[in-house]
């Protein structure tokens, strides 16, 4: 892990009406780390991810990627700069085959797509890369199944595979373990650990076991504010965090 900042936000502010969902967020994501963002429900985690991905525009503040100000870039432009996102609510192409889901992701940044004649299935290089990506998330054997027929856990894996397919520098993962059973979560944890070699990950997750197993750095968000940031040990012993998680204290204690 180096200490180069890959992504940085300064004073990020976003309100919906009177409700301030991002109240001046400073975030510093280093190259090569798994940076977890945790916080109670309604803390503004998904809104933050949406602003990083370019789906929502902040009211004020800046977002920089590799020193370049990307605050005003639309979603697709950020994707080509290397930011990929997986969605909290599974957002795959249900009617496409598993392979085609990833092929589409690869197509996004691979040459232009105004090709009207040649059968999409004939681009064997892209298909081979897509299979490799599927292999990394453990779905290679399911490549030719219609995506809608995958189990929930597999759909979550595909969700990550699609984000990976755009060959990102930075992966924004919004609750990749959402709705998963213990066994599926275990598998996802090992998938994500495998990604760490090549990618920087920002991980929003409620599953504390997963966070403590993976994170190099944890940022704690409460009501749109960063109340703490640090390593796993620092966060565990932080009194503010314990207070924010009052009632959920057991969740923290279990892994203490």
């Amino acid at each position: 892990m180096s200490f180069e900042p890959l992504l940085e936000t300064r004073e990020l502010v976003k309100s919906f009406g009177a409700m301030m969902v991002s109240a001046g967020i400073d975030l510093f994501v280093r190259q090569g780390e798994i940076h977890a963002i945790i916080g109670p429900n309604g803390a503004g985690k998904t809104t933050l991810i949406a602003q990083l991905a370019g789906e929502l525009r902040p009211d004020s503040g800046t977002i920089t990627l590799c020193g370049k100000n990307i605050t005003r870039l639309p979603m697709h432009a950020r994707s080509s700069l290397g930011i990929a996102r997986s969605f909290q609510i599974t957002s795959i192409f249900q009617g496409f085959s598993v392979l085609d889901n990833v092929v589409l992701a690869l197509q996004a940044n691979n040459g232009h797509n105004f090709r009207f004649w040649r059968n999409a299935g004939k681009y064997s290089v892209i298909r081979r890369s897509a299979l490799e990506v599927l292999d990394r998330v453990g779905l290679a054997e399911r490549a030719h199944i219609v995506a809608g027929n995958l189990s929930h856990g597999e759909q979550r894996q595909l969700e990550v595979a699609m984000a990976l397919g755009t060959r990102p520098k930075l992966l924004l993962l919004d609750e990749p373990m959402a709705g998963m059973g213990a066994e599926e979560s275990e598998r996802m944890i090992s998938v994500l650990r495998g990604l760490k070699q090549e990618h920087t990950l920002v991980l929003v997750e409620h599953d504390m076991a997963a966070v403590f197993a993976l994170a190099d750095w944890i940022t704690v968000l409460v009501y749109g504010r960063v109340i703490a940031g640090g390593t796993i040990d620092q966060i565990r012993s932080d009194p503010d965090v314990r207070e924010a998680y009052l009632g959920d204290e057991e969740a923290l204690a279990v892994y203490a």
Binding site: N113, F114, N119, G165
Partner: protein, 314 residues
């Protein structure tokens, strides 16, 4: 793109329909030759709407505008002495494409119900424009003196020649459209239909793809319009009335969206039903209505789905 085993029922149906179409003029009944020419032209329009509706997920309620615009292009050019199909037909295609580029650039910024309404509004604008354009017949429309010429190669005035030419164009359109929906561009368009937000987050500037798809569909519709002007030798604003857009929508939905071939069957089915039922009563819509409801409720993929099973056509 799930691989299919060959031969399957849909190919048999396709071959059967094709064979039937090849033989129509052989019966020597002018009425049927003309009827089926008209059906094939509408099959081309329905197919073009399927590109945006079935594959792109864009519910355009103004598709007849491009159809009518193509027809008027041929009519107006003929009025000014341009008889050659080599000039008039490309003009119809390019004209419709240009209009679609403008309409699409504005209306594709909306989606859902708003998109339906705005395409409808644009189409009605065009309708009233030609409705009040007295130089070219206004609300009465205008007759054409004769069909276009093709440098003496074939006589389009001959109903059989014209029939086979339209058939050839219909098959070509189907072939090109099939290539297109299976191409990279086609995959992107279908991805947009399934989940536009995800496509944008993957890095696709989706607006461009939708606009290009919209323009291509309009160009094909404009071409069909050029053909219908030649077929009927009469042009009126009725070609672009919103009820005509509705008819084309019905063909697509009835036949089965997102299958290209289905909407063509839809055109065949709707126009034949109209022909047969209107022989019994002028209120034939009363009979067609319930039939439509039954098909939409019980066969999600339309007539084509009934025939070939509701397979995924992605």
């Amino acid at each position: 793109m799930v691989k299919q085993k060959y031969p399957d029922l849909r190919q048999i149906v396709l071959l059967f329909v094709l064979a039937a179409f090849l033989t129509v003029p052989l019966f020597g009944e002018l009425f049927y030759t003309r009827l089926f020419t008209r059906i094939m032209i509408y099959a081309i329009v329905a197919l073009s709407l399927d590109l945006i509706l079935g594959y792109g997920g864009m519910v355009s309620f103004g598709h007849a505008a491009f159809f009518g615009f193509g027809a008027y292009t041929v009519g107006i050019l003929a009025q000014h002495g341009v008889e050659s199909a080599f000039l008039a037909w490309p003009a119809a295609i390019l004209g419709s494409a240009a209009i679609a580029a403008v309409i699409g650039a504005i209306s594709l910024r909306t989606s859902g119900v708003y998109f339906i309404m705005i395409t409808l509004a644009f189409a009605q604008m065009l309708y009233y424009f030609f409705f009040s354009l007295e130089v070219y017949g206004g609300s009465d429309g205008m007759p054409l003196a004769s069909r276009n010429t093709v440098a003496g190669l074939i006589d389009l005035g001959d109903h059989n020649s014209f029939y086979y030419l339209v058939l050839a164009f219909m098959l070509l359109t189907l072939f090109f459209s099939r290539r297109m929906v299976q191409s990279r561009f086609g995959m992107v368009i279908q991805g947009v239909r399934e989940n536009e937000r995800r496509m944008r987050s993957l890095g696709f500037a989706t607006f461009r793809y939708k606009l290009v798809c919209f323009v291509i569909a309009a160009a094909i519709a404009g071409f069909a319009g050029a053909l219908i002007a030649n077929q009927s030798l009469y042009i009126s604003p009725a070609f672009m009335h919103w009820t005509r857009s509705g008819d084309i929508l019905v063909m697509v939905i009835l036949g089965g969206m997102g299958s290209l071939f289905g909407p063509m069957l839809g055109a065949l089915f709707l126009l034949l039903t109209e022909e047969v039922l209107s022989g019994f009563t002028e209120h034939w819509m009363i009979l067609l209505g319930p039939l439509l409801i039954i098909i939409v409720v019980f066969a999600r993929r339309g007539v084509y789905g009934l025939l070939c099973g509701a397979k995924d056509v992605v």
